[in-house]
Symmetry: C2
Subunit: 221 residues, 2 copies
Amino acid sequence: MILPEKTVSRLSEYRRILLDCLSKGQTHIFSHELANLNHITAVQVRRDMMLMGFSSMQRKGYDIKELIGAIGSLIDTPDGLNVAVIGVGNFGKAVTGYFRGKRSKLNIVATFDVDSEKVGRVVGGVKCYHVDNLPKLLKKLKISIGILTVPPEYARSMAEILTDNGVKGILNFTTVPLNMPDHVFLEEYDMITSIEKVAYFVKNHGGGKKSFSKATDASKQ
Amino acid sequence: MILPEKTVSRLSEYRRILLDCLSKGQTHIFSHELANLNHITAVQVRRDMMLMGFSSMQRKGYDIKELIGAIGSLIDTPDGLNVAVIGVGNFGKAVTGYFRGKRSKLNIVATFDVDSEKVGRVVGGVKCYHVDNLPKLLKKLKISIGILTVPPEYARSMAEILTDNGVKGILNFTTVPLNMPDHVFLEEYDMITSIEKVAYFVKNHGGGKKSFSKATDASKQ
DNA sequence: AATTTATTGTTAATTTTAGAACAATTATTG
DNA sequence: CAATAATTGTTCTAAAATTAACAATAAATT
């Protein structure tokens, strides 16, 4: 079963919240609690649960551990996926550090840069290689997802190297919109768009809205 | 006229693309060209133009300069808005540097941190102040938008300080979901959700989709 | 100048997404 | 143990967003 994209995003958000609850010792959660924490309605939570085929203990709420497991079995890949970060500037470092051990099924196994200061060193717990080694290492390390955090002028050429060497999904944080072959899933996020949106609604509403920034679906139509 | 949130996001994306085209000397663009560059359909571009009340020169495409101006007059604030970045780690530095001069109507006027190594120095072109000065400086500098890039444990307290001191919009890059008063526009972005979405569609489609990561609308319902 | 071609603006249809409503179920209370 | 209250699962409805379709227009071609 393929879940709607919006549902996949929400499942990921639910899990983030649930892991947080779990770490605080909470064992069960009601639909309206999860909804409030995620700025959505309880109905939507229940509909998502239904879509997942997940049931609660009536009147006790959802079992948090079970739900985390259920979400994992739907959105994770059993054997995990290997991820590379291309470009170890501030953003690349932030992304790499951010992930550190957060998701067992997604492993950042390498970072790449051109700067000899960085190459060979360990950044955010992950070794940095020279970009020249990309083709070789992408295959050798079986990397299927690439995160692009390079300066704009390198975005397209790096993306090409990625897709030419077996990468099946790209998360593009550069300002350059990419065009990918059909078999590559592309997700792009531009923080300027996020802040311009905030600015627009600050200007026009004087606030009064709540919004979750999601990466734009850049899939082939 | 208040534009739909999705349209606002797209207008911002259009402008990013148009500015790039302009810098390459291009003067006009067809709806299908703009659509391809933004991974959407030409119909959607034309509908957005209609919503904006913007017209092209028939058969010549849209005048890029005019269109940039039209988008600006809709989504920018004439006098500009002041922005602060809270938390000068890798992510905060990335955000600050990323913005440098990119949008004349959005000015990052200050950054804040607790680290005495950073306080008093200029980071990414912007002066860093100690967090203790937040209440005073938020008012003094008339900051209306805050970007949160602090460690998760500080997210809620910082958000509170922001809203208590006149901030009307928050872009939350921490992993902590926030709850804001109704008059504050909140936009949240979690990169883990983005990459989990990529992973899901890599696993299930073997690619074949295109997606733009947008910040989730966290507005009050 | 007539014909063809390309492109837009707009209406109508479709699809996707979210919400309201409510019966069913089970804990809790008296 | 009956009554009450709380919560879910689900269907039906509504709203939002996207796409399809096509007449209108203007450039290009003959």
